[in-house]
């Protein structure tokens, strides 16, 4: 069990979600975050006074997947979040102790098995 934490551009999120859902991995959490990195900040100018905004908005995508699914999920994010410019983001992979489904109380890999997206 691994947790994937990807910091990506807003505009890449929808394509990544669609592709992961097709792959049977629609379960994820997404948060709006602000961060700094290689991509420079930007200058805000208000009535002649300038301020450097060094934090840029990004999207944090978190998902916990089975070990067998880590590579294909990461490949998907790498392909679709890539523009080649600074600011594409980073991906982190963390170990996870346990997964429990609240509805049934099930534990372990069964919770992370690839599945269809529930119909809207």
């Amino acid at each position: 069990m691994k947790k994937i934490e990807a910091f990506i551009r807003h505009e890449s999120l929808e394509a990544i979600h669609d592709r992961l859902a097709q792959m049977g991995l629609p379960s994820m959490s997404v948060t709006e975050v602000k961060g700094s990195g290689r991509q420079k900040g930007f200058t805000e100018s208000y009535r002649g006074a300038k301020t450097v905004i060094f934090l840029r908005p990004k999207v944090k995508l978190e998902m916990v997947v089975d070990d067998a699914d880590v590579d294909r999920a990461v490949d998907c994010i790498l392909e679709l979040a890539h523009t080649g410019e600074p600011g594409d983001g980073k991906i982190f992979i963390l170990p996870v102790e346990e997964s429990i489904r609240v509805r049934t109380g099930e534990r372990g890999d069964v919770v992370l098995a690839p599945h269809e997206e529930a119909p809207a």
């Binding site: 807003h10 505009e11 602000k34 930007f42 200058t43 805000e44 100018s45 208000y46 009535r47 002649g48 006074a49 300038k50 301020t51 450097v52 905004i53 060094f54 934090l55 908005p57």
Partner: protein, 476 residues
């Protein structure tokens, strides 16, 4: 006892009533009074039409995204200022000056020393030429606001300036001259009372050319399907529509170009009947087409009804105004869908509300005109189809000229200074990328002053999320 200011109002009114006969007796000239009353109504109507800029500002910013809210305001301001300056310098002379059937050519740089020679159409009018200009320039600004509404969220600011100069200074005045300046369409009996085709259709045609050359906003069409890009404030957008509705009292009511001898109340009643019918029509169509009561379509329905009644408002009866309005409202939602089918991205719905409704309203004169008011009977009153034919080729000429001229200007801008903002600017939003500031800064950055900079002793620390993330570079 304190005398409250409003108690003075009846007293002042009484004094003014006493003063009017005194002036008349002194000058022994009722013409002066008539001129004053006409001029008064002119300026009131002009200010009502100028107020429509506030309506467009709210409508357009409400239907744009938060990241572009300030850029829409900048656009409204530059377009109003360009319209004022260009129309004062050359536009008014081209539209209303003495010339040939195609364009006028006298009375540059107002005011004019010899109004009767420079502007033969105004020789009989009691209203000073400056007031005539104020009224007319407000219409130019409305037309220009429509153009840029469809181009929101993706247009370079410099393109607004380039197009605005040529539109307010050349394209609009030429078409206005054909009808209102005594040009070739006026000679053939073409009727457009307040500008369904001259103001609204023209604006929509330029908007169509602009949006086609620009292309849709990023993310608007995916896999051949239209994706909704919701505006950030429906309340602001609908406030804008209500301001436009109020402004229309001056737009149509003032277009009789006088207060005396003209029943402008009849015109204004027709105007609002059509607006009401437009809202009802768009609501009904929205329920049947979308299975929901779309609020933005209701607002567009009001505008469609108003645009449609603009040309015929002085020429038709009340029942006809209702029909003209309801048809404009009913056809609006299907046209919105049809435009998205052919991948035209029109964020504020200007093309159906100002373009299609403008064509419908202009043609409607051919069906609903009453001889008492228009001088000619429409088909439904037993008239011939002649008027409908004149209305049709008037519209066709406007479409042909304005679409071609606008497309030429937009293409010229595209291949010189550039028409469309870069992809990065568009994604970031035009507020920060073109203007360096946000319309809603707190949405995007942490603004200093949200938390105390130095905590008083013993005070609990601020929540961790509220840390200051900006640092001043230069102090103002």
């Amino acid at each position: 006892m304190r005398l409250r200011p409003f108690r003075l109002v009846p007293i002042l009114a009484a004094l003014m009533l006493l003063a009017i006969p005194a002036i008349a007796a002194a000058q022994d000239d009722t013409t002066a009074i008539a001129a004053a009353i006409d001029s008064m109504w002119f300026v009131i109507a002009a200010v009502l039409v100028l107020f429509m800029q506030a309506g467009f500002a709210m409508l357009e910013t409400g239907l744009s995204r938060m990241k572009n809210a300030a850029s829409v305001m900048a656009k409204i301001f530059i377009n109003l200022s360009i319209a004022l300056v260009m129309f004062w310098a050359v536009g008014f002379a081209l539209a209303f000056g003495d010339g040939n059937g195609f364009v006028g050519a006298s009375g540059w740089f107002l005011p004019s020393d010899n109004v009767a020679a420079d502007f033969p159409g105004y020789a009989e009018s009691l209203v000073p030429i400056q007031s005539q200009f104020l009224f007319q320039v407000a219409f130019v600004a409305v037309s220009l606001a429509i153009v840029f509404g469809s181009m929101l969220d993706r247009t370079k600011f410099v393109a607004y300036i380039g197009f605005g100069v040529l539109y307010a200074g050349l394209i609009y005045p030429i078409v206005a001259h054909w009808t209102w300046g005594g040009g070739w369409l006026a000679d053939r009996g073409f009727l457009d009372f307040a500008g369904s085709s001259i103001v609204h259709l023209q604006g929509a045609l330029a908007a169509l050319a602009g949006t086609l050359i620009l292309g849709p906003r990023i993310g608007k069409f995916r896999d051949g399907k239209a994706v909704p890009i919701p505006g950030h404030s429906i309340p602001l957008a609908l406030l804008g529509v209500i301001i436009l509705m109020i402004g229309w009292a001056g737009f149509n009511g003032g277009s009789g170009l006088a207060a005396i001898g003209i029943n402008f109340g009849d015109v204004i009643m027709n105007t609002y009947l059509a607006a009401a019918a437009g809202i009802i029509g768009a609501t009904i169509a929205s329920v049947f087409l979308f299975k929901t009561i779309d609020v933005s379509q209701m607002g567009n329905g009001a505008i469609a009804g108003l645009v449609a009644i603009t040309a015929p408002s002085a020429f038709v009866d009340a029942w006809a105004a209702l029909i003209i309005g309801v048809v404009a409202g009913l056809i609006l939602p299907p046209i919105v869908i049809a435009l998205e089918r052919i991948r035209v991205d029109d964020p504020i719905g200007a093309l159906p509300a100002h373009g299609v409704a403008g064509i419908w309203g202009t043609l409607a004169i051919g069906f609903f005109a009453v001889a008492d008011k228009a001088g000619v009977d429409g088909i439904l009153y037993g008239g011939s189809a002649e008027q409908l034919w004149v209305q049709f080729y008037g519209v066709a000429a406007t479409v042909g000229f304005t679409l071609t001229a606008s497309a030429a200007v937009f293409l010229a801008i595209k291949y010189t200074v550039g028409l469309r903002a870069s992809e990065e600017q568009e994604l970031q939003g035009l507020d920060i990328s073109e203007h360096g500031m946000f319309g809603y800064p707190e949405r995007f950055i942490d603004v200093p002053g949200a938390t105390p900079e130095e905590l008083p002793a013993g005070h609990a620390p601020a929540p961790s999320g509220a840390a200051t993330t900006t640092k001043p570079v230069t102090a103002s």
